[in-house]
């Protein structure tokens, strides 16, 4: 723990009080306690810090970027990092790499958020329906899941994008289509342990239909394990998006997508290393941050799988 002894101050004492005065007080105290245990994990805090910075950068991109990310200046092409005006250098069309990275953060966040919303919801739906219905519905749905799992993720995403056409939206769709099967597996396993529990029987004998039981009573119980899985999957999503961009099937030029930027810099990698390296470092940092955060969250949210 990294709680340094500090002079007692109002809010902190109030939060750490052993004798809560109201229900809200107790709830806030419990939240603060889990925040403290999360804060004890330095790596997770490091990851969280990077992500907070990423979100801020994406939000204030127009204020932070020194140049227009699309403005070309062929006189100033391929300037090395440190050149006045080009902190991280410039690319083959003379665009400022730093500005492009800053705007690229928006695209990365956009893709990650959308996939993190779409894929778990699809997986949750398929998994809970399969688990609750059982019988042939289960067999059919889970075999479809198995088929999706049998393909390498990026290859399947490539096939989808090739069929749907290149672009960010289609990349999101393709990544989601390849990302849902693990969630379906988890949701099904959770559903199987719950579907014969007494409280599901109790709802059934009140006359609730299957759809209502699944949505109102089974979904809330699956959420916590899915959330952990999502945070751990974020890094994979970023890599898949960058991979599609690199292969020219994700965001289209001149969009400053990180994967596409690496792909552009590939041609000059021996003579002008920074063009490909800078976006690569950005991808590396952000996926590392997501992994660290996911690990920390798992320890807090799911104590039985914690490493301690």
């Amino acid at each position: 723990m990294t709680i340094e002894p500090r002079p007692p101050e109002g809010l902190r004492n109030w939060l750490l009080s052993d004798t809560p005065t109201s229900r809200n007080h107790a709830r806030m105290a419990a939240l603060y306690q889990s925040w403290l245990s999360f804060r004890g994990n330095q790596m997770a805090m490091f990851g969280l810090g990077i992500l907070v910075v990423l979100v801020l950068v994406a939000a204030f991109a127009p204020l932070l970027a020194p140049h227009d990310p699309f403005a070309q200046d062929l006189m100033a092409r391929l300037k090395p990092p440190g050149t006045p005006g080009f902190v991280l250098g410039s690319d083959s069309l003379g665009r400022d790499i730093l500005s492009r990275l800053i705007y690229g953060a928006r695209i990365t966040l956009y893709i990650v958020t959308l996939v993190a919303i779409v894929a778990p919801v699809v997986g949750l739906f398929v998994g809970t329906v399969a688990g609750y219905a059982g019988g042939w519905v289960d067999v059919v749905l889970m075999r479809i899941t198995d088929i999706f799992l049998a393909f390498p993720r990026l290859v399947l995403a490539l096939a989808f994008v090739a069929a749907l056409g290149a672009g960010i939206e289609n990349a999101v769709l393709a990544i989601s289509l390849t990302a849902w099967p693990p969630y379906a597996r988890i949701a099904r396993a959770e559903t199987l342990t719950m579907r014969n529990s007494d409280f599901i029987h109790a709802v059934r004998l009140q006359g609730a239909g299957p759809l209502r039981i699944i949505i109102r009573h089974i979904w809330p119980l699956c959420i916590s394990s899915l959330v952990v899985r999502v945070t751990l999957d974020m890094a994979g999503i970023i890599l898949a998006a960058a991979g599609l961009g690199f292969l020219g099937l994700g965001a289209q030029p001149p969009t400053p997508e990180w994967g596409a930027m690496i792909s552009e810099g590939r041609r000059f990698i021996l003579d002008h290393w920074w063009v490909a390296t800078m976006p690569g470092l950005a991808i590396f940092t952000v996926s590392l941050a997501f992994n660290l955060l996911g690990d920390g969250l798992r320890d807090v949210l799911d104590p039985k799988e914690g490493s301690q």
Partner: protein
């Protein structure tokens, strides 16, 4: 069955529950018949005698591969065996309701108590959220919960066992069913709260003129609490009698059960061990119809 069907709330005739297993078909309930008026009917028997299965079979809630067959299960003259699953859902909760053994497991752990009760109400009554909330608070008060407003916002793990069971009762009674099936409702509770919970249930059942099927293995409790008793053994009804005459029962199985209970007024050195006669298994079921 000589009576008009509307005299009784429920008429069950020749009810079977079968489970196909690898070694053949297992009959959990074997051709029992009984009827239920506006009374308290106790069903007693040892573990595995099919008493809980009977309760679930009436609601047609036996999970596949289990199968329910019956000549008829008449609820106020309507044969439940003929209803589709969708029609059956309208029966469950609204007309026949069931209280289960352990409130710890029969309340959804991630939903607030109030939400669960209101949902039970809204499943059958087409009302607004506010109306359901008002009704739920009323119902919580009816099961003698002191601070309904507070309990409404609690999660199931924040209430005690006795309170949980009262919440269950509130949840099951809120659609105002005609018949309540209580499947060992007090087995998971402390002896001190058992009577309290039973009393609450009893009052509600009496006030609303409902029929109660009380499933239990506790002979003393049943004889004190019910009007009429069915004694089940190996999926059959071996004896039926008035609850207050339970101690005059004649069937050797019932006698055996009674003798294996310790009695304060007639202490014995060794309690009798129940000796089961294989012949009981093959006897015909006695009709519990009135």
């Amino acid at each position: 069955m000589t009576q008009a069907p509307d005299a009784n709330l429920l008429e069950v005739e020749d009810l079977w529950v079968k489970f196909p297993t690898r070694s053949g078909i297992f009959d959990a309930v074997r051709g029992i018949s009984f009827s239920l008026g506006r009374e308290r009917l106790g069903i007693v028997g040892e573990s595995g005698s099919g008493k809980s299965m009977t309760g679930r079979a009436i609601l047609r809630l036996i999970r596949p591969p289990g199968r329910v067959t019956a000549k008829r299960i008449d609820l106020e003259g309507q044969n439940l065996m003929d209803l589709s699953e969708r029609q059956m859902r309208a029966v469950r909760g609204q007309r026949i309701s069931m209280i289960m053994q352990d409130p710890k497991f029969s309340l959804n752990p991630v939903m607030r108590v109030g939400e669960q009760i209101s949902e039970a109400y809204r499943l059958h009554a087409d009302t607004s959220k506010a109306e359901a909330r008002r009704k739920s608070l009323e119902m919580l008060e009816a099961v003698k919960i002191r601070d309904p407003e507070l309990v409404f916002t609690l999660f199931p793990h924040e209430v005690s066992g006795g309170m949980g069971q009262r919440i269950m009762i509130a949840m099951m009674m809120i659609p105002d069913p005609k018949i309540l099936i209580a499947d060992e409702p007090t087995s998971a509770l402390d002896v001190s709260v058992q009577m309290q919970v039973l009393e609450i249930m009893d009052n509600l059942v009496q006030d609303r003129g409902m029929g109660l099927i009380f499933i239990s293995h506790d002979l003393n409790l049943v004889s004190a609490f019910c009007d009429r008793v069915l004694i089940m053994y190996a999926g059959r009804v071996v004896e039926t009698c008035r609850a207050d005459r339970l101690h005059e029962a004649t069937h050797p199985y019932t006698r055996g059960l009674l003798n294996s209970l310790p009695r304060l007024d007639a202490p014995v050195d060794r309690l009798e061990v129940l000796k089961r006669d294989p012949q009981w298994r093959d006897e015909h079921s006695i009709s519990g119809q009135t």
